[in-house]
Amino acid sequence: MSWKAVSNPILSIAKAFAVLLLVIWSLGPIYWAFATSVTPSNEIISKSLRLWPAHATLEHYAKLLGAASTAHGNEVQSVWPQFRAAMINSIVTSGLATIVTVAIAAFGAYAFVRLRFPGRNILFALVVATMAIPAYTVMIPLYRLMISLNLIDTYLGITLIYVSAFLPLALWLMRTVYEAMPLSLEEAAWLDGAGRLYTLVAIVLPLAAPGLIAAAILTFLNAWGQFIVPLVFSPTLASKSLTVLIPEFATRSNIDYGLMNAAGILAIIPPVALVIFLNRYLVSGLMAGAQK
């Protein structure tokens, strides 16, 4: 029996407690949003705190997804068209940003690792250093730049900003992945008659897949959760994202908690679906068998 297997009841209980705490910490807010989203409006603002509503309802989802709905006995206009537009905007901008970022990182990081060129390390340090610049310091100059380029409230404008913001992290991650790969695999491919680009595409990238997927997930989640950038650069539903639309459900006279939480729960679905889908390819041990 190894020393690890010796069970200490107090330690086990402490561990279980710590795990429980962590689960509550991360899932608690999501549960709360979900519970709120199925709570009737009058119950939401009641004084008594309940973990689950007495009369669960889908009225908020109906208001969000239906053509029209009733609230407080009045017929109200559905927010579905706005919600749908913002959902599409979020998916398009996050998706584009992810594809472009990962593509550039895949090739750029390879160049930083394998190609010798003067200023290589300084250039890389500069790229990574841009991560330290707070977004709000560049917001105004960036806004002026975007105006002069006519890119305000366009997919292209938002995507470009996301790419420039998230590329350094993806580059950094991919550089680490490439650095860990044995050069001899590429050398073997060169001697087999492959050129540099073909080697990168046929040998290196398939083996770097876990890194690429991790970079994709990180970029997508980062872009999906962006608030400041779309708030500033997406004034209309032409490119406005969910993160900006949902808080707008709070008007001067009324904060529609139920609607906001229902929208929030739906907004979680695309990133969760993406992570679950990509997770299948995030297998470790791809390199097994390459060497001795």
């Binding site: 073997a188 001697l191 492959a194 050129g195 040998i203 068998g289 390459a290 001795k292």
Partner: protein
């Protein structure tokens, strides 16, 4: 048909020159081993032939054509890497056929070539497996298969057996040699294992500190090492080196007069080299060297006897068993009368 010629090859990293003026002719079909301690430049030299390292000076000539600046992919040279470098996401068949696929060889021809190579290497049952499902020896064979399948001009081997266990190493040693002779492909073989070099090579190149110390057949290298470095590097256990002085009757080593006709004037100090297996137990008398026993190593067939021989650290191999305790005094004779004489200053062989 491929001949390889090194003309004054040099390799520099910045201001540091790691290979100096390497000259060598490799004949068609020949297997030449490059041996030396780690850091002697043998792998660098091999990688220069592959095109994986730039050549800083001199000329590398393949079949009368200078290939200094030819890209690796256009050299038609195959290499077996120390760590095998198999493509982990490709099957054995795909690994072996990759180079042919890149040359746009038709599928049917690739299949035939891969099957033939797999047959030769006993890999047929494993063609659809991925490298991770293979043992070390099988991976080594796949690496070989990848090299032979396209029938290159030259094979390069970079310590291909160093990751295998001892039994497999001995087996693969003869397999590789047999295969190479059968295919008749000109080959360079880098190893730090002098036994591999001795058993497999047509000729051996001994490298030290970026210089070629000696080029010759295994027998030449073993029997007439050109200097002290080669003498000690080739042969296991190492050759004994004992200081001596030339006299009119022979060479005086400690208090023992060895009957050697030294090509030097009396009074000249020199170094006498004696292979451990040429020494045998004897009795005190003319020409017998005193040895103070330090340790015994029984290898099975023979016993390695360590101690001081005429004052110098030395070793003899005794065929059979021997018992003794540290401090015991033995007398060693050299019935073969094979001695190697080296200049004390330059370390060069005196003949």
């Amino acid at each position: 048909m491929a001949t390889l010629k090194f003309e004054g090859l040099k390799k520099r990293y910045g201001a540091v020159e790691v290979l100096h003026d390497i000259n060598l002719d490799v004949a068609d079909g020949e297997l030449i081993s490059l041996v030396g301690a780690s850091g002697c430049g043998k792998s660098t030299l091999l990688r220069m032939v592959a095109g994986l390292e730039d050549i800083s000076g001199g000329q590398l000539i393949l079949n009368d054509r200078v290939i200094n600046d030819v890209a690796p992919k256009s050299r038609d040279i195959a290499m077996v890497f120390q760590n095998y470098a198999l493509y982990p996401h490709k099957t054995v068949a795909e690994n072996m056929g990759f180079s042919l696929k890149l040359r746009s060889v038709p599928r049917a021809e690739i299949d035939t070539a891969v099957r033939r190579a797999a047959d030769l290497l006993g890999l047929t049952p494993y063609l659809d497996r991925y490298p991770k499902a293979l043992s070390g020896g099988q991976r080594q064979r796949v690496a070989m298969g990848r090299a032979i399948v396209r029938e290159p001009e030259v094979f390069l081997f970079d310590e291909p057996l160093s990751n295998l266990d001892a039994t497999l190493r001995v087996q693969m040693r003869s397999e590789i040699r047999a295969l190479q002779m059968r295919l008749g492909t000109t080959s360079l073989y880098v190893t730090h294992d002098q036994l591999e070099a001795m058993t497999m090579s047509d000729r051996i190149v001994v490298l030290n500190g970026g210089w070629i110390e000696q080029v010759g057949t295994p027998v030449e290298i073993y029997d007439t090492p050109r200097n002290i470095f080669v003498a000690q590097f080739i042969g296991s256990p190492k050759m004994n080196l004992i200081e001596g002085v030339v006299t009119s009757e022979g060479v005086m080593v400690g208090d023992t007069l060895l009957p050697i006709a030294a090509p030097r004037a009396a009074g000249t100090p020199l170094i006498v080299g004696i292979r451990p297996e040429h020494l045998s137990l004897g009795v005190e008398g003319p020409g017998a060297l005193p040895m103070v026993l330090e340790a015994l190593e029984m290898t099975g067939a023979e016993t390695h006897v360590y101690g001081t021989i005429a004052g110098a650290q030395g070793i003899m191999t005794h065929a059979g068993r021997l018992s003794g305790a540290p401090g015991d005094k033995l007398w060693l004779t050299n019935p073969s009368e094979i001695y190697h004489l080296f200049d004390k200053e330059t370390g060069l062989r005196l003949d």
